[in-house]
Amino acid sequence: MQRYSGFGLVKHALSHHENWERQWRNPTPKKQYDVIIVGGGGHGLATAYYLAKEFGVKNVAVIEKGWLGGGNTARNTTIVRSNYLWDEAAALYEHAMKLWEGLSQDLNYNVMFSQRGVLNLGHTLQDMRDIQRRVNANRLNGIDGEVLDAKGVQELVPIMDCSKSARYPVMGASWQPRAGVARHDAVAWGYARGADAHGVDILQQTEVTGFKIRDGQIYGVHTNRGDIEAKTVGCVAAGNSSVLAKMGGFNLPLESHPLQALVSEPIKPILDTVVMSNHVHGYVSQSDKGDLVIGAGIDGYNGYGQRGSYPTVEHTLQAIVEMFPIFSRVRMNRQWGGIVDTCPDACPIISKTPVKGLYFNCGWGTGGFKATPGSGHVFAASLAKGEMHPIAEPFSMFRFHSGALIDEHGAAGVAH
């Protein structure tokens, strides 16, 4: 792997940037691997990267039916934060946050991680009580957080309508300064390049059509490019996890919903942080390119179509204009949908399954991007050792039968 550096940039300028090395190979599938990862999004590629780099499992394949990061990895609104209420969730997302903080250096790939802070607004007394409780819980878990009043919010974001005359006046917010945004494509590409450099085979345009299971133990997968064998298979397929689980002969407590997002035309820098509101239900940040990146809640019906309904977009924009009247005449450029696998308790499933050797990492719902490095790291550790990593342990799929749910609904801030 050619390392990227300022010097390299100058060197390649002399040959008109025509001789850059390919970032990853396009290999033909081998007959057998030690571990197969199904799903080449951020979480799957991160899993492969940490498997090869930290846990010494280098004979790994990532199988992706489309192209790398073509699903939710490239469809989210790029927000990264770790201010979750419950200890289990906080540990998982904070683990990710710590990896985010060194990720560009680790990958030698600029993921443009920008710790510009995230505000979670409160508009009612109950919102403010919940915010205080959550910030206190965060601090006990060593996660940064502050409670701001309306004046503090106004100082941070002068363009927001924090007046008493707003329909849902802003009463305050939680503020996590270490939170922020990252460039989502670069995360997938950086992990892919890193994994490839450690010998991982990334197989695009390869679709898993079934599992090879004998006596309750997995020993390979069927694909449209032939059978591939492995005694350990990790599925990280987001919205399509239920379909894969059915191939394995069991069910997951997931429902796949469209989640829409949109970006505006590029405008001059005006918003230097991330603003989320659970109550009026929308969130917005401004990308380095200048466009406003906007999202809100899922479409209520099940769907795999990677698109949703216009009324949902309208509600989202109503919320944004309610908070930022100044944006009322900004035009929207692009709008899209991704398929999120929502879990009843709004927490992911990182788990063994009834099939020995088959593991699932899914159920991230509307908030998976922020966890990409941590999710990949703990999943890789679990696959390498055959025992769930302590941080992943509480996220077993069997919690829906034992009753040990991790109820992050509403507690997390927005859009669950």
Binding site: N240, S242, V243, N302, G303, Y304, G305, F400, H401
Partner: protein, 113 residues
Amino acid sequence: MFYIYCPYCGEHREEEEFHPKGQAHIERPKNPEECSDEEWGDYLFFRDNPRGVHHEMWVHAVGCRKFFNITRHTVSYEILETYKMGEQPSITAANQTQSREAAAVSHQEGVRA
């Protein structure tokens, strides 16, 4: 935007009048006390999540406020039929392969099955 036929009003109305309410035809176990943890967990949390024909309950929230069922394709989003509570669907995954319109839509939008 869906254009949904309410079987009680007997009219097509726009999606905004309706709310989706999850999977249809779920029955509460008759004797919860006698359920195992698996059976009760399955009832509470596990839902069909098919990539294809799906039966779901909707409510005509700002219309007649009645609940009814929709059979819908979850990739093309095509509504195949609507029917009243207590009735059984005439179109199911078993008797319906992906309709031609559905295939056309998923092809057109670059959606991979």
